[in-house]
Point group: C2
């Protein structure tokens, strides 16, 4: 398997982008990534998306977007694994280039969620859970996370206020990210008084939906496509693992076994340990998912992730910087596109292009994208080391 590198990135702002169609959003990110790579087109396009079939009455996104960006004729394919569709598209592109079959691949992901009424969006999101054994019994995604959080607090003795810093840190970091949805800081007091959505989850535990797209250009590491203008970031590890789709079918609903498995595979591939990771773009769809991801990946002991947040060991200059550009919580969570935003942000950090949020001397950055309630988890480690 040949090694691959990323030589271009692009993203739109996450927002209620009512003035942009699905193809315009995807196109804006892809064309920005190609321009950043000093290329005009690519051999193949891998597109992550979760819910355009329902929210936009549009499938077959591959041809739809490829033609729009002027690459009519090129190979293109959509991949979907619910909320981890973005990282799945990136991994598909990595494998295609690694195989030797494709020389220049674009991995992109797009989601346009805000055209639909909220109740419909909740139903579309619920297609990531088990239709027969979860959704038909009335459980939404927010409810599944609330049930897990309730049990976690009971089991490990945490109070709701102990999760505040996950959200405070994310909002703080988003202020300096022009692509983020929110640009306002929040306080402990605001977190504590946030309206309840589904006990114990409040509004400020949850990430917002949004419209947006992100993209990356992937080429072989030993490649004639590099010019002196391009900054290349190496894909040191790419891995994926699955779990049950239904939470109730797990031996331990408080442990993300697919996160543990894919992180372990990634550490082995990259030849690193959690101590070597300089920043971690985790999947903070809810504060409870932030906690479970930190624990499964070895950054905190089981049941102890809130301690990391309470001690502020998740800020830019601390033990393990997370959500460095705002995370799902404050950059926004355009569900099938989120995984590619995470990867683009890791690359910004490793290139030294993260501005006021720059993690000093970052060498290894990790991104973990969680599909469903932890049923499909994809982990990447990137590096600027040669």
């Amino acid at each position: 398997m040949r090694k691959v590198a990323v030589i271009g990135i692009g993203q739109t702002r996450v927002a209620e982008n009512w003035d942009k169609s699905l193809r315009e959003l995807a196109g804006d990110a892809i064309l920005a990534a190609l321009q950043d790579a000093h290329l005009s087109t690519a051999d193949a396009f891998y597109l992550g998306n979760m819910m355009s079939s329902s929210a936009n009455n549009q499938q077959n996104l591959d041809a739809y977007v490829t033609d729009w960006v002027g690459a009519r004729g090129a190979e293109s394919i959509r991949v979907e694994s619910a909320c981890s569709s973005g990282a799945a598209a990136f991994r598909a592109a990595v494998l295609a280039v690694a195989s030797g079959e494709i020389n220049i691949a674009v991995a992109a992901a797009v989601e346009k969620m805000t055209d639909s009424p909220g109740a419909e969006t909740t139903a579309y999101l619920a297609t990531a859970a088990d239709a027969d054994w979860e959704v038909d019994h009335g459980v939404s995604f927010v409810a599944l996370n609330a049930l897990i959080m309730q049990r976690y607090m009971h089991e490990y003795g945490w109070a709701h206020q102990d999760f505040a810093n996950f959200s405070i840190n994310a909002h703080q970091n988003a202020i300096n990210n022009p692509y983020a949805m929110f640009h306002m800081p929040i306080s402990q007091d605001k977190f504590d008084r946030s309206p309840l959505i589904c006990d114990p989850l409040t509004l400020l535990d949850a990430s917002p939906i949004g419209d947006g797209a992100a993209a990356a250009v992937i080429v072989p590491l030993e490649s004639q496509f590099f010019t002196s203008l391009q900054k290349r970031i190496i894909v040191a590890a790419s891995s994926a693992a699955s779990d049950t789709i239904a939470v109730h079918a797990r031996k331990d609903p408080l442990w993300l076994s697919a996160a543990e498995k894919s992180a372990k595979l990634a550490y082995d591939q990259a030849g690193v340990t959690p101590q070597d990771i300089d920043l971690f773009e985790y999947h903070d769809a809810f504060t409870i998912m932030a906690s479970l991801s930190l624990e499964a990946c070895g950054f905190a002991e089981r049941g102890q992730a809130p301690k990391l947040a309470l001690e502020n060991e998740i800020a830019i200059e601390s033990r393990i910087p997370v959500a460095t550009m705002g995370g799902l919580k404050a950059r926004g969570h355009p569900v099938g596109a989120t995984g590619l935003f995470q990867l683009v942000e890791v690359i910004q950090q490793l290139r030294g292009q993260a501005g006021a949020n720059q993690v000093p001397n970052a060498v290894f950055g990790m991104a973990q994208n969680i599909g469903g309630s932890g049923s499909n988890i994809i982990t990447h480690i990137l590096t600027n080391a040669s």
Copy 2:
């Protein structure tokens, strides 16, 4: 890129499978393929599906199916490119194994369409067309094919009855395929008196929707996973190309440029010409698509495919046997699964397991899966030559 081979196949009957859930259908095909390969599980699962998000309220199919077949934890991903999702899943598996990252991959595809009312299914299928510039103006998939056929008949001077043998041949071949939806022959007279759906398309020009699943097990050609019990069929070529999603945006709506491009790539990879292909599982969703596919792949001159049918050069023992197990027309068209049925049937032929429909001395078999109105086309050539 290492070469890969198929060592196991499985399929369900295409039918109105009301007694089977989506995961049961997928599971039946996957477990049959694994059993056929004398394996109990795989490292990764690539699942093709078009419309489960709408028709079954279920996305995140990867984890959903992987857990069901007893492979909890394994990597799994869904790929979608409308009607060519089945072949796209196969190609994703081929590239993953070719890259060296995955050793045993299952490519599977499933569709469960008959639980939904017909009008809804028509709307779900229409998501493969351009939502803004085709569907919003009232065009369904049947209508798009009717418009193309109308123009084709005008341009090349064919009458509707000249297309009959595409359907007669498919129905004839399906009689001996226990997995086919239809087991009744049709005649020229029946074709000519078939009810009009959308001028000039009649019911017997069109393939039926259905529920079904198919699967294949893919391993490296040089592999410790072979035993003497396994029959291996080599993937000689795998290629994909795209076109505009909207038919009106094409320079020539009567030419499948993505079919031509992906077929040419496949011939080059396999080192063959159309004359070397012993059977062709084409995408006969409508008789007009059968014609356009034959022409774009070099089996007929432009505008002359109906002549091949009229002269019966498409039967089992003729110039280019097509739809050898019934094709989309009579095996049935479970839309996102069709591409994998085509590949499984090619493998049955190359193994000499096609029973009464066996193409004598078949060495190279080709399958072409068409997404949308020709917007995304994937071609595979397989061989039993070593």
